[in-house]
């Protein structure tokens, strides 16, 4: 009997020490990690909206109807659905355009795309920032060739060619292409509405 108590105690001590060390390292690194995440997102924003010196964070609360198809699925569980976008300003304070993150489930993963649009809501550039699609097929969505297909496109053209749109889909990866295209179109629609409302005010 006492032997088993001893085993339990040894295991308890080892796991206690391990979790103590982990808690300490986590405390040490968590601020730095959060900072890096913000920095990486900032870099992606600058890439899709070149010539911008400053980004202003803005957001709109979505009415429940617009929640589907929903470009920010993850936030459903976190309360009211918020669509976050950034308006970019150059060094003289002129509006350069807007950026937002579009996200939709593709073939095997959530595909997140950073999108930059100019003030007339034409796409400047896109960048796939997170995906785990099939290598060799869907994963090609992150390549420059596919990204360039979105440049200068308007919302009316944002459909894959199989759905009668202007975006040439990736060979053998229509589902991934569709996820990227449709999530951008949905996000762009919300953005257009939000910016329009603001101008009326």
């Amino acid at each position: 009997m006492s032997y088993f108590i001893k085993l339990g105690l040894v295991l308890l001590i080892i796991t206690a020490i391990a979790s103590g060390i982990l808690a300490y390292v986590n405390d040490l690194t968590k601020d730095k990690i959060a900072e890096n995440k913000v920095k990486a997102e900032e870099l992606a924003r600058i890439e899709v909206l070149p010539g911008t010196a400053k980004f202003d964070k803005q957001s709109v609360i979505l009415p429940p109807v617009q929640a589907e198809p929903n470009p920010l699925k993850k936030q459903v569980a976190e309360g009211p659905l918020e669509f976050v976008y950034y308006s970019g300003l150059d060094t003289e304070g002129n509006l350069t355009g807007y950026t937002f993150v579009a996200s939709q489930y593709g073939y095997s993963s959530e595909v997140k795309t950073m999108v930059g649009v100019d003030t007339a809501m034409n796409i400047i550039k896109i960048k796939v920032i997170e995906q785990a699609e099939t290598p060799g097929l869907g994963a090609n969505a992150a390549t420059d060739v596919f990204r360039q297909r979105f440049e200068k496109k308007q919302i009316s053209e944002l459909k894959v060619d199989k759905d009668g749109g202007e975006i040439v889909s990736l060979t053998g990866a229509t589902i991934t292409s569709r996820a990227v295209t449709n999530s951008i179109a949905a996000g762009l629609q919300i953005l257009t509405d939000a910016v329009g409302k603001e101008e009326e005010r």
Binding site: L7, T29, P135, L137
Partner: protein
Amino acid sequence: MRLFQEFTKGFIKENPVFIMALGLCPTLAVTSSVQNAIGMGLAATFVLVCSNIFISLLKGLIPGKIRIPCFIVVIASFVTIVDMVMYAYTPEIHKSLGLFIPLIVVNCIILGRAEAFASKNGVIPSIMDGLGMGLGFTLALIVIASIREILGAGQWLGMNVMPAAYIKSPMLIAILAPGAFIIMGLLMGLINQMKKKQGA
């Protein structure tokens, strides 16, 4: 001399992938490109050496009956620390290796070497064993990934090595999951055949 043997045995004679068939899950998952293979191999080697050091130091303190949970706690904490420190201080490297680090916890080569070697040997031989096994694992990954990337994408380490016509419509199956099984099976068979001939 014995130390040197502990180091070299992982390359061919006791290669973790081809001979011992350990760590097949990460092997199948990351060998779709040579770059991924090198990243995973080196990250696993680093963790393997460190966990071997810790386990060989702790071996006197851990009762035999609960050694496996203890090993897993040590390995998992170690991997998590590496992950957090890299994310905080070397975000660039973390970006390219980040995907593989959590996978290392479930890499049974690490647990296998802790159980079969480090828990029975001293620190120095354990380091050599970890280094050799880790590099052997890396080597195996690179061989499989080279074949898959050249056949499946017409590229090697991101450089085009096949004619443009091939790259346009490559043998896609090689880069998909079934291709990994087929190529790994063929390589294992080839090595077994070679071993048989050598033995006879």
